[in-house]
Point group: C2
């Protein structure tokens, strides 16, 4: 068939002075020597699982807390707290991402100066969170294997803005269930973001976690100097 | 550990007169005997795969077209067109959902009266698309097994508003990779939405597609009467 694809562009302006506020928060946290990291992904890609693995690996060396964001529910914060890590749950009441002012509401209930590393678990969404600078020092995203290797084509902004990409559920690669190509995915990501760090992991088996955690610990240590 | 979860609610008003416009579109399409269906899911849950299976099953009995929505790219519309089904791609340029006016832009390039069934493939997102009535007669969502059985807890509005839930990638249930419980998921969904139709399918193997397509064909036929 040769039906041409007709293309209609819908423009919409979604930004305010959030960027300036984000830079202000970043500067403040640098001065206070507290490292803020913003973790983003689709629903179910493994943000909470990654946080559990990461905080378990670092809990003897760093003082950490988690700001959880969800439309509703406190499921994720409960899970984090149960693991022995401090967590605050932001309920966005339908809002699909976090901006700096929401992050500040979370930070206000933490003792920032007593913490080395604070994770934001953003709302599960590859669209809106990419557009709002949270004030974090690092933006990290998770892509899970079952989502498919075409996602960089569909959500280019998210893949463009992140410092690191964690490819989770690599244990699925060994099954016939998925035709995910790590090479194809990586080529698509590198075109958007040549310098991005890519960490293939399985939060279920623990494979690859050490490389990711080592890199993160290095980033936090460098900021402390 | 007994760190209590601290809860902060962030209120935000995200709605306009979209609801009235949606009802207007729904009324118009009923009069014109064209059935509009809005398909939603996370990124990578299988919207395009489901559309390929569904249109293949119905193409001898119904005249169909697809309105694809994406932040960027025309990948999905290309796929649909390659299968012999008319498709129009809406590029939302960063916007994370479709509202009625965007849907109307897509409909404007279709010959509505020559079509029995039009699918909207909404932006891959479980948050914002749930909040905007598109004017469709039916809202259908896909949850894929690898996303996890806790998603109704995290995205309750989406599960509450849909007429049907397609649980895709059920072939993953036979592996040790996931601890997804169909019963747990279904219980969570039924609490939110007792009347929802649930169709377990695998778009890879074709399992369960017939039940879903049969139900959909019945809905379309009933509207034609």
């Amino acid at each position: 068939m040769s039906n041409p694809v007709r293309l209609i562009k819908i423009k919409e302006d979604i930004q305010a002075d959030n960027d300036a506020l984000a830079q202000g928060l970043r500067d403040e946290l640098r001065q206070r020597r507290t490292f803020l990291i913003n973790l983003m992904s689709s629903p179910g890609a493994g943000k909470t699982s990654l946080l559990l693995q990461t905080t378990a690996a670092l809990k003897n060396s760093l003082r950490m807390a988690v700001i959880e964001a969800d439309i509703d529910s406190t499921v994720d914060a409960q899970t984090i707290v149960s693991s022995g890590i401090e967590a605050v749950q932001l309920q966005t009441d339908g809002f699909c991402h976090l901006d700096v002012q929401m992050v500040r509401q979370g930070l206000a209930s933490l003792d920032i100066d007593a913490l080395d590393l604070i994770f934001i678990e953003n709302v599960g969404n590859l669209v809106c969170p990419a557009e709002f600078d949270t004030g974090a020092e690092l933006d990290v995203m998770i892509l899970s294997v079952p989502e498919g290797d075409d996602k960089p084509l569909k959500y280019p902004l998210m893949f463009s803005k992140c410092d690191a990409l964690i490819v989770n559920k690599i244990d699925y690669l060994e099954t016939p269930l998925t035709n995910f190509s790590m090479d194809a995915m990586e080529n698509r990501v590198r075109k958007l973001n040549p310098g991005i760090q890519i960490f293939p992991v399985s939060c279920r088996t623990g494979e690859g976690i050490r490389e990711w955690v080592g890199w993160l610990a290095g980033k936090v240590a460098a900021e402390k100097v």
